[in-house]
C-alpha cells in the first residue's frame, strides 16, 4: 500500500471499536465528545430530517463545520454528494479529517464517484455488497461502511449489507484461483482487489456499519456480526435523552459481547427515535439504492 493510503487507513484503524456520531450544532458535538464518541460527522440536518423535509440535500455550510472543528478535539468528518468532487475539494481545504461521499445527500453524478486518490483527506464510502465496496476502494476509499437505510432507525438494511459483504468475503476466500476472474466479473469489482480478498479473507480497509442504529442492542448486534465500529446518525439526537443514549451506545460498542453490561446500559434511556420501518418506504425514498 502506498504511503498516502496507509495514513488514511491508519486513521480508520484508530477509530475501531468506537462510535462516530452525527451532530448538527456545536452543542451536539460537545455532548458527543463528552459521551465518548471517537469522531463526529458535522452536518446541517440529520438523515431523519433530510427525509422529512425532502428537497436537494447538499454539503453543509463550511462555517458550521468550522465551528464544530473548533469545539471538539476528536476527528471531524463531513459529507459530500456522490460524485461532487468540488464539494470534496472544499471539505479538504477546510481541513476535515474524513470525507463521507454519502448517499444520504442527493447524488451529483449518476455514473461516477469521486476519484478519491486525488485527495489527501481520506474518504469513507457506503456499500450494500462486496462488489460496491471494492469499487469504492478501487477509487481510493480508505474506509467502508454499510449504507443501511439512513434516517429510519430500522437496522434491517445495515444487517443485510454487512451479512452480504461478509458472506461474499468468505466465499472468495474459499474459491480456487481460476474462479477469481469470473467472480470479479460477476460482482463488478477490480480483479486485483478480488485477489486481495482471496489471499487475506478480508477487505484491505476497515469495515464499519452505518444506517439505522438507534439502541445499544443495535450496536451490539452489528459488532457481533463483524462490524469494526459504528456510525450513529439520527439515532442519538432524535431520541429523548441524547447524552445518556450516546454514552450507552459507546459502552455497548466496547462491551458488545457482554449481555450483563448491555442490560445495565439499556435501562431507562428514554424514548428512542420513533423511526420508519424500512419496508414501509416507497422505492424512490430508499437511500441505499444511490451509488453506482
Amino acid at each position: 500500500m502506498e504511503q498516502g493510503l496507509r495514513l488514511k487507513v491508519g486513521l480508520a484503524e484508530m477509530l475501531k471499536g468506537g462510535v462516530i456520531m452525527d451532530v448538527v450544532t456545536e452543542e451536539h458535538a460537545k455532548i458527543a465528545e463528552d459521551a465518548g464518541a471517537t469522531a463526529v460527522m458535522a452536518l446541517e440536518r440529520v438523515p431523519a430530517d433530510i427525509r422529512r423535509e425532502g428537497g436537494v440535500a447538499r454539503m453543509s455550510d463550511p462555517a458550521l463545520i468550522e465551528r464544530i472543528m473548533k469545539t471538539v478535539s476528536i476527528p471531524v468528518m463531513a459529507k459530500c454528494r456522490i460524485g461532487h468532487f468540488a464539494e470534496a475539494q472544499i471539505l479538504q481545504e477546510l481541513g476535515v479529517d474524513y470525507i463521507d461521499e454519502s448517499e444520504v445527500l442527493t447524488p451529483a453524478d449518476e455514473a461516477h464517484h469521486v476519484d478519491k486518490f486525488a485527495f489527501k483527506t481520506p474518504f469513507v464510502c457506503g456499500c450494500t455488497n462486496l462488489g460496491e465496496a471494492l469499487r469504492r476502494i478501487g477509487e481510493g476509499a480508505a474506509l467502508i461502511r454499510s449504507k443501511g437505510e439512513a434516517g429510519t432507525g430500522d437496522i434491517i438494511e445495515a444487517v443485510r449489507h454487512l451479512r452480504e459483504v461478509l458472506r461474499n468475503l468468505r466465499a472468495i476466500a474459499q474459491m480456487s484461483e481460476m474462479e477469481l476472474m469470473a467472480e470479479a466479473k460477476r460482482i463488478q469489482a477490480p480483479y486485483e482487489l478480488v485477489r486481495y480478498v482471496h489471499e487475506h479473507g478480508k477487505l484491505p480497509v476497515p469495515m464499519f456499519v452505518a444506517g439505522g442504529i438507534a439502541t445499544p442492542a443495535d450496536a451490539s448486534l452489528v459488532m457481533q456480526l463483524g462490524a469494526e465500529a459504528v456510525f450513529v446518525g439520527s439515532g442519538i439526537f432524535k431520541s429523548e435523552n441524547p447524552a445518556k443514549r450516546a454514552q450507552a451506545i459507546v459502552k455497548a460498542t466496547t462491551f458488545f459481547d457482554k449481555p450483563a453490561e448491555l442490560v445495565k446500559v439499556s435501562r431507562d434511556l428514554g424514548t428512542p427515535m420513533s423511526g420508519i420501518a424500512r419496508n414501509a418506504l416507497p422505492e424512490d425514498q430508499k437511500l441505499a439504492a444511490r451509488g453506482w
Partner: protein, 197 residues
C-alpha cells in the same frame, strides 16, 4: 508470557498481530480483572477522550495505576497521552505514569499526518533508521531529565523510556518490523524475572 492490550477502543488488532508473530499471547483488557496475569500492558492508539471516558465509567483508573506500579506499560499515541504527567491542547486528565508533558494533535489534523524516518536508539543496540507513522500525533513537549530519549524528530522526543515504562507518539504497529515490540517484551521479561509483584 501474556501481554495485555487496553481494548476499550482503538488500534488493538495490529498490536495483537505483532505480539502473535513473536509468539506472545495478547489479552484484550477491558475490565480490571483482565489485568491479572499480564506481564505488561500496551495502551494503544485511538481517541484518548473516548478511552478516558470508559476508564472512568468502569473504575479502571486505580487498577491501571496499581498495575503500572509493578509492571511495564507502553503508551502509543493516545496511550502516551493517558500515561503523561500533563496534557495540553486541551488540558485533560492523565495518569502520570511517566514524567512527560504531551501536547495533543500537535502537528495538526489528519491532512498533516505523515510518515518519517527516525533513528531509533535502543539500549545495547546500535542506532538504526526506521519508518515512523504519525497520525494526528501528539508531541512530547517536556520530559524529566532522567527520561531516556530513544528517538527524536525535529528536536522533539518521539520515543521515550522512563523506568519500566515506554511511550511513543508514532505507531510502530502500523510499520514493518518489530524492534519496539521486542524491546517492550524484553522489559516485561526482565521485570518478571526480577519477581516484581
Amino acid at each position: 508470557m501474556r501481554v495485555g492490550i487496553l481494548a476499550l477502543q482503538g488500534a488493538v488488532e495490529p498490536h495483537r498481530a505483532k505480539l502473535a508473530a513473536l509468539g506472545v499471547e495478547a489479552v484484550a483488557v477491558r475490565l480490571a480483572e483482565e489485568l491479572a496475569g499480564c506481564a505488561g500492558l500496551i495502551l494503544p492508539g485511538g481517541e484518548s477522550t473516548t478511552m478516558l471516558n470508559l476508564i472512568e465509567a468502569y473504575g479502571l483508573e486505580e487498577p491501571l495505576r496499581e498495575f503500572a506500579a509493578r509492571r511495564p506499560c507502553w503508551g502509543v499515541c493516545a496511550g502516551s497521552i493517558l500515561m503523561a504527567a500533563e496534557v495540553e491542547n486541551p488540558s485533560q486528565v492523565s495518569f502520570g505514569l511517566m514524567p512527560i508533558t504531551v501536547r495533543r494533535n500537535a502537528y495538526g489534523r489528519q491532512n498533516e499526518s505523515f510518515i518519517a524516518k527516525i533513528d531509533l536508539r535502543l539500549p545495547g543496540e546500535p542506532p538504526r533508521s526506521q519508518e515512523a507513522v504519525f497520525i494526528r500525533a501528539p508531541r512530547i513537549t517536556r520530559c524529566a531529565p532522567e527520561t531516556r530519549v530513544l528517538a527524536e524528530l525535529d528536536g522533539a522526543p518521539v520515543a521515550v523510556e522512563h523506568g519500566r515504562h515506554l511511550a511513543t507518539t508514532f505507531h510502530p504497529e502500523l510499520s514493518e518490523g518489530d524492534r519496539l515490540h521486542r524491546h517492550f517484551l524484553t522489559i516485561c521479561g526482565a521485570q518478571r524475572l526480577a519477581g516484581a509483584g
